[in-house]
């Protein structure tokens, strides 16, 4: 019984840690795509932010400076994407891909030139990372069965960014459906001409959405290298940007469902650690490689099975041009 609780608590904790960057990235994608800009460059922006954050945190010793640097780097690329797709009416998928490839090359190039660690940054001292926060009442609740350990290990004990991610989900829901900005954002992703003729600038709205997207990807990247990890590592995003995008699609471009999709992906990842080398009744030990491909297979299955018919914001992917 205790064992099971222990496993659940430990898996839940890992799930939350792994889900956090996915949540940031999925929400980033949500703002972009709701505004009508498809962004498959989430991956690249996260990677850029991860590098910038780790490098800055290493140099200054402050995770907050790292976070800002990460946000700045990511936002810069978000603006490049915005310029290409909004101002220059370029192909959004190609632009996103270009950014992914550019960053995949640029981050290790800079890392090698500056740190000579084969494309990584030096390990951060603990002061340069976001540390776990102990929420109040942990000790008070400790003796309570079940709730005690869950509170202590699943709810408490994460770093600040995890709690920010958690807060962002309801916040995004509120922004999207209860505010002027949200109304316009949803409208511009469906029918930009309607927004334009209503006297609201499509370009400004989309740029704003892309900046939000950049900031959120920046936090996601900083989380990877300065909170969850302790250094930038070459290719450290490993497809997380695409998983986030899949979660967004699976979540029908809505914050809460997207959160659950992220948690689902993170859970498969956390389970993967547990499943390694554990025989499964009737099947035996599954080779690690097959366990490792689970999130990717899951993505394909979800896209094929459930969301084949999910309807994206109608104008997403299409540049808005008044003059053909």
């Amino acid at each position: 019984m205790d064992d099971i609780l222990l496993t659940i608590v430990s898996v839940a904790g890992a799930t939350i840690r792994v889900a956090t960057p996915l949540v940031f990235a999925a929400l980033a994608g949500l703002y972009a795509e709701r505004s009508g800009v498809v962004d498959i460059g989430l991956e690249g922006k996260m990677l850029a932010a991860a590098f910038a954050a780790a490098a800055a945190a290493h140099v200054t010793g402050s995770p907050w400076v790292g976070l800002l640097a990460g946000i700045a780097a990511s936002t810069l690329f978000a603006l490049v994407h915005a310029y290409a797709c909004i101002t220059k009416a370029g192909n959004q998928v190609v632009s996103g891909m270009a950014i992914n490839i550019l960053v995949a090359g640029l981050a290790p190039t800079l890392a090698i030139a500056w740190f000579g660690l084969g494309g990584n940054t030096p390990s951060l001292a603990s002061g340069a990372r976001f540390q776990a926060i102990r929420l109040p009442f942990v000790d008070l609740l400790a003796p309570v069965p079940i709730i005690g350990p869950i509170y202590a290990q699943v709810i408490s004990g994460h770093n600040i960014l995890v709690y920010i991610a958690a807060a962002l989900v309801p916040l995004t829901g509120w922004v999207l459906f209860r505010t002027r900005f949200g109304l316009r954002l949803r409208a511009v992703g469906e029918n930009p001409s309607a927004v334009d003729t209503a006297g609201v600038s499509v370009v400004a709205l989309r740029y704003r959405a892309m900046i939000i997207c950049g900031v959120l990807c920046g936090v996601a990247g900083a989380y990877l290298s300065t909170a969850h990890g302790a250094a930038f590592v070459k290719d450290m995003t490993a497809g997380k940007g695409f998983l986030a995008l899949a979660a967004l699609i699976f979540g029908r471009w809505l914050p809460w469902p997207a959160l659950f999709a992220c948690l689902l992906f993170a859970l498969t990842d956390a389970m993967q650690v547990r499943l390694q080398g554990t025989p499964i009744p009737g099947i035996g030990v599954i080779p690690v490689q097959f366990i490792q491909m689970l999130p990717y297979v899951l993505t394909v299955l979800l896209l094929a099975g459930f969301v084949g018919k999910a309807i994206a914001p109608k104008a997403s992917g299409i540049p808005y041009v008044k003059e053909r």
């Binding site: 222990l6 608590v9 430990s10 904790g13 890992a14 840690r17 792994v18 290790p108 090698i112 740190f115 000579g116 660690l117 084969g118 494309g119 990584n120 030096p122 390990s123 603990s126 540390q131 776990a132 290990q153 990877l224 969850h228 990890g229 302790a230 250094a231 590592v233 070459k234 290719d235 450290m236 490993a238 956390a270 650690v273 547990r274 390694q276 080398g277 690690v288 490689q289 490792q292």
Partner: protein
């Protein structure tokens, strides 16, 4: 007269400052450079398809000693050694049989046995962990020796084992390393041994974050988180690289396969001011004793069999 030796070192993925395996090689090469005042060329592999061409390029640029770090370069060494009989090759962690290749391998299981004992003695929960890098026989050999050492101290001990992955990327994924270590700590382990290159840094970090103990590998990693790294399993890649370069420089170079264990001081454990407080006198005594017994043959540590 023999031509001047022109050495070149090709580091494997992870880079020369990985605080672990490649860095050990780098230290050996730097020591040679310092002592003999001879410059060497160097190259860091950044993707798999580069290895063969990197060696070819070194040869084209006039290198007559190519030191290839890491087993992954074995195939390329085999091919290039055959095509360039006048160039000497050194390969670390793999055996290539050719008249112009010297191979260094290590008895990792022996060193791991010693740190396994340390882990078992330091553990209060009776549970220790192992996080490997890429799942290959070499790393299983680390795990196998570690387990034997731990069981020698406490036959009831539980040893959790995880491998990070099955590709070379497993050498450089500290985040995953950290998650694996956390899962072992969550299950009650209080010492985790990382044999995973740069991935191990994540393991050490997790131990420091959670106030548990970790064991480093290859280089002496005790200083990375003083007081949180119980010890490090030293693998003297530095010595291997150094002697290889030195022998070539002094014209004493011979081909052949060298296998270094505790007896040759090729593997060992690290004790310095950073982990002094963690190692009790009793622990130190028992590990030193075991070391002697391995050298004398009183204890045989079995290597991992494929």
């Amino acid at each position: 007269a023999q031509a001047q030796s022109v050495p070149a070192v090709i580091f494997d993925m992870g880079g020369k400052f990985d605080k672990s395996f490649n860095e050990a090689a780098y230290n050996g090469a730097e020591r040679f450079k310092r002592e003999f005042n001879v410059e060497y060329r160097e190259f860091e592999i950044s993707n798999e398809a580069q290895r063969e061409q990197a060696q070819v390029n070194m040869v084209r640029r006039g290198a007559n000693l190519v030191v290839a770090i890491g087993f992954a370069q074995a195939a390329a060494v085999t091919k290039n050694a055959a095509e360039n009989p006048n160039v000497r090759f050194c390969i670390i962690d793999s055996v290539v049989n050719a008249p112009n290749v010297r191979s260094y391998t290590f008895k990792e299981h022996e060193g791991s046995y010693l740190v396994g004992m340390a882990a078992a003695m330091a553990s209060k929960t009776g549970k220790v962990g192992f996080v490997g890098g890429m799942d290959i026989p070499l790393i299983r050999n680390f795990a196998f020796g570690y387990e034997q050492g731990a069981k020698a101290v406490n036959p009831q001990i539980e040893v959790f084992q995880n491998m990070t992955g099955t590709t070379p990327a497993a050498w450089r994924d500290p985040t995953r390393g950290g998650e694996l270590a956390r899962s072992q700590f969550d299950r009650g382990a209080d010492v985790v041994y990382a044999a995973a290159g740069a991935t191990g840094l994540g393991v050490l970090q997790a131990a420091a974050d959670l106030n548990r103990l970790a064991i480093g590998v290859d280089s002496n990693q005790n200083h990375l988180h003083p007081g949180k790294v119980l010890t490090s399993m030293l693998k003297r890649v530095d010595t291997a690289v150094y002697t290889c370069m030195k022998d070539a420089h002094e014209n004493k170079w011979t081909a052949g396969a060298l296998r270094l264990g505790v007896a040759e001081d090729g593997v060992g454990w690290a004790l310095d001011q950073n982990n002094r407080p963690l190692i009790s006198a009793d622990m130190e005594r028992r590990i030193t004793e075991a070391r002697q017994k391995i050298i004398s043959g009183e204890i045989t540590v079995r290597p991992y069999q494929q």
